[in-house]
Amino acid sequence: MTYTRAEFPIESHSAPFHEVDCQVKSNEAINDEYYLLILNAPPEILDCKPGQFFHLLCPSKDGRSPYLRRPMSIYGYFPDKGELHFLYKAVGEGTRTMAQLEAGERLNVLGPLGSGFTIRDEWQNLLIVARGVGLATLAPLAQEALRKGKNLTAICSARSPEMLMSVERFRALGANVLTVTDSEGTSGVDDLEGLIESRIAQSGVDVFYTCGSNRLLKLLQRLGAKHGIAGEIALEQQMACGIGMCQCCVRSLRRGGEIVYERVCKEGPVFDLQEAMEW
């Protein structure tokens, strides 16, 4: 059931979001660990920004019902096709029950939520550094960047070449894709640093985008400070409400000489790279 928000008397400081039951179009394993979920979604929830997420009510399967919703980045939103895509790793109870969803079944989603990435007009050369499910979060950013005619380089890192998802997706969008993997011994911090420095030297970089690991955060903070390059990072945190009410999802940020706490679901998940703190 939907309830009217017509008389909504507050100046909305957030874009509208919705709770909707969507039909599963497909839900398939793309390798040993990752799944691609495609939902048929109504237009009102497809007005998304790269970096935003949905809060998913995992189905109950085999007598297990994960209680809370699970936050999941938008991997793709296609208003024309009426599709919403998620790329996820089955790690625990919630994502494992999600992996059992079959075409035709329904999934309740809440979103789009949070604030997405910024692409300033003056930024021309964008560099994405991503690993694991971080690729999911950054794919819509790549799409948007290329729509805006930016030059985009994506460094995709993974355990082994087989785990390098989305490389094709980035390439198809026209990005310049570089891959590094643990198994080939090319994904260490030093290797990455060299790769990025040469990128900066060659064509210049105006902004870094990343998500996830402490290691990448530290490296990019250092390079950003050194070269005066802007940056944004998408962070994760346990969530209950997903819409700013419960204050469980805070992260500490360094801002103006102080430590401040902001909600990943509301002020985030995307934060300024230099403000973000290791955890």
Binding site: R5, A240, C248
Partner: protein
């Protein structure tokens, strides 16, 4: 037409459904018209700015959750200046939840939030406080009586005392709150609990322990709501694990005049408006003209009086 209106002392609610403190902000207006609700209850605020507890602040347990948010707060001045005005745009009464580390602090904040636009003050006497060795005031009748008297002296607004399940003396605490000047009881807050990650062997909450809320809590807080309704003459507001209209009805039958919905809103943000619709439909189907006819209608006559005040499980 079924009449859903109830009164909590002098505060008139158009229906008995309202949010529980800490599980609601004006952000929910993104999902439905907040004026559908019987009242608005804000997150507990403290006199000074506070950061709150370390993360992770929530975790799941089977079919329910634990939280130890702590009480991050921008302080009472910010609240009165920035937040109270937001709720003036609604017609639902605004209930402000407050807490303080000492009786003195508590009294001070109680005065400060006694401003136009606030319909009642919910006093969260169920969180740990310094003066009492980290125990909550509402764990003992004596401390409950003392703090309620101090608060009663600090405001003319209705005072709703929010009780804790972390006690073996619920009926006594309820009577103490009433004697101390409470105008209603909110029953109840979360129950101290714990969960450990068996892989990392770390507590799942940054704060080690936290409060249980959600369906697992319902039989406990329903019991407390019943005990309170039997023990005092002021209205009782049920709270704990409400998800379905049957849950609401159970609390009302037990003697609650209204209910607060917390965790269920996290799972389904439209829970409250759905409960209002469902309650109307349920009362209609069961041929009630007014929700007031349901309140306290529990058929407990066969049970001996002494049983009502039983305080340990048999």
């Amino acid at each position: 037409m079924v009449d859903l209106a109830v009164k909590i002392g002098s505060v008139a609610l158009k229906n008995p459904i309202m949010p529980a403190s800490g599980t609601f902000t004006e952000d929910l207006a993104g999902v439905f018209d907040l004026d559908l609700l019987g009242a608005h209850v804000t997150k507990t605020i403290t006199p000074e700015k506070r950061i709150g507890n370390p993360t992770p602040r929530v975790c799941e347990v089977q079919g329910s959750m634990l939280n130890s948010i702590g009480i991050p707060s921008k302080g009472v001045d910010h609240f009165v200046r920035e937040i109270v005005p937001i709720y003036q745009k609604f017609s639902a009464p605004l209930i402000v939840s407050i807490s303080g580390n000492t009786m003195d602090e508590f009294a001070r904040i109680c005065e400060k939030v006694s401003v136009p636009g606030v319909a009642a003050i919910e006093v969260n006497i169920s969180c740990p406080n310094i003066e009492e060795d980290g125990k909550a005031f509402a764990m003992r009748p004596s401390t409950t009586l003392r703090v309620m008297k101090v608060l009663r002296g600090a405001t003319d607004l209705p005072l709703w005392a929010k009780l804790t399940p972390n006690t073996g003396e619920t009926p006594d605490v309820a009577r103490a709150a009433e004697s101390g000047g409470a105008d209603a009881l909110v029953v109840s807050n979360t129950l101290l609990s714990m969960a450990i990650d068996v892989k990392t062997r770390k507590p799942k909450l940054g704060n080690l322990m936290g409060g249980l809320s959600g369906p697992a809590l319902k039989p406990i807080s329903l019991r407390m709501a019943y005990q309170c309704a039997k023990s005092v003459n002021i209205p009782v507001i049920g709270c704990g694990g409400i998800e379905t209209v049957e849950d609401v009805v159970e609390y009302l039958i037990a003697g609650a005049s209204a209910v607060q919905v917390g965790t269920a809103t996290f799972v389904n943000p439209t829970t409250m408006p759905r409960l209002i619709d469902d309650l109307r439909a349920w009362l209609f189907a069961e041929k009630f003209q007014s929700v007031n006819d349901l309140i306290g209608s529990v058929r407990d006559d066969e049970a001996a009086d002494s049983v009502v005040f039983m305080e340990a499980a048999p």
